[in-house]
Amino acid sequence: MSVERSAFLPREVVERIDALRSRYPTEEALLLPALHLAQNHCGGWLPEEAIEAVAELLHLPAAKVAGVVSFYDMFHEHPVGRHRIRLCTNLSCQLRGAEELLQQLHDQLGVDEGEVTSDGRCSFVQFECLGSCDTAPMAMIDDDYHENLTPARLRRIVEELD
């Protein structure tokens, strides 16, 4: 095991990936689970070293892993805020006020979509339907759904993020 890799992905992450091996007939199938675990460890995004570490661990070309990373909306190749806000603006949410929430997020955070606030606290993006249209408008913040939002409620929730 190379020094860089173990330094980059700590033992417990590697062990958690290895524990999944028996579930799949191929090593490649571990790629998405491994990337999720690696990204969690790296603070919500995947620096090049993480991509290389995962590639090495699963015996895949790093370019292949990078290609997979770029395909999926939940994997990030660039730094993100400590808290990641995904605001759904798809139709059901749009019909119930998502555009006003978008305006409110812009005003409150003072950054554009995809940018990180200067204190590193937040970043936000518009997202496609998150499967919570009955409680529209809604946003996913880190791993949690926040439903039936109003601009005032969203403002308070964002204010209270550490």
């Binding site: 998405l32 990337l35 059901s92 496609e128 499967g131 919570s132």
Partner: protein
Amino acid sequence: MAFERVLTRNVDRPEALTVRGYREGGGYDALARALRLQPEEVIEEVKKSGLRGRGGAGFPCGLKWSFVPRSTDKPKYIVCNADESEPGTFKDRLLMERDPHQLIEGCIIAGWAVGANTTYIYIRGEYTRAAAVLEEAIRDAYDHGVLGDSVLGSSFRHDVYVHRGAGAYICGEETGLLESLEGKRGQPRVKPPFPAVVGAFGCPTVINNVETLCCVTHILLRGADWFKGIGTDERNTGPKLYAVSGHVERPGTYEHPIGIPFQELLDGCGGMYKGRELKAYIPGGASAAMLTAAERDMPLDFDSLAKAGSMLGSAAVIVMDETTCVVRAALRLARFFAHESCGQCTPCREGTNWMRLILRRIESGRGSEADLDLLAHVVPNVGGISLCALGDAAQGPVKSLIAKFGEEIRDNLRERRYPLPRVPFFDLGAVA
């Protein structure tokens, strides 16, 4: 006789989250019954029920199962499609979060029927909570001998694993899903071969939607005749979940006999938001053609909607009231498809973006009637000749926009009314 809800019977019964509580409500009896039957008999029962897939395409479930080769040296797989990313759809999330064992039971029955010892539940990555609930339920199922080497004490082995996606609509398309499960970009495959013969890891695979597998459980318990007795006709059978959102008083997941007329469904949701007038509705998720207020008595089943030029799809019903700019609504969906096209096929990759650009020009007030003509010319070329149905899906809303609201749009264009005034949902002044 009043319709009895079965798929959602446990959603307000938190006890059902454990094997013990689920069993108290008759859970896993269907599996026990299935294991006493020959696999062929299970397939026959599902065939007889008329169950059609609840994931979008409406393919007969029993028939799909019967395509899996019986004698093969290869392992076989069940893949549960829990990617649920069709805009407007949230029914599978409810089923997984509130009644995970109903789904696990369906997976094992499917496994027994086709001779598969492994199920992968491919769940969209954003559903962290549903994934956690499922993981916990699966652990409990192993502890109680429901999963593992000896399912309910039989000689049948079955394992269920949750596999998380990472945010890509196209991974809901069954072969895109398989690519993703195998650790690749989720780009759909050339068919044939079909997954029943060459699926996950090159092996025979059945891919079914969450709700489809949940239906299987009840068919085994109550019999095909019971299932067939519900619905419009022989081709549209069983209970169905409708995910209703948009401008209605009480959005939510509603269980009805398949084929309930739209107006009845709407009444059950407390009617239109603030008592406003209906302008249009989408009966089957973002991929389905819009219908108008004049079509409010439409039975919401596979064949009635297909005949009307739309589709049941995922039965995600998005309701739009009189304040809605339908061009703006179609634009949002066009943007979605342009974003989600995987890019392999030129008509889909380019066409979805063209539709987005033209709609944006019209909506923003920079367009003319010639743009509407151009759009009408582009739409028929977006689907049909590509690897998967995403291109076709992207046509749905735009095609119907032109067909049903073309005159209104022309009129608005001639009178230079775009962008239409927006009715804010929230009074921003009050909260600033």
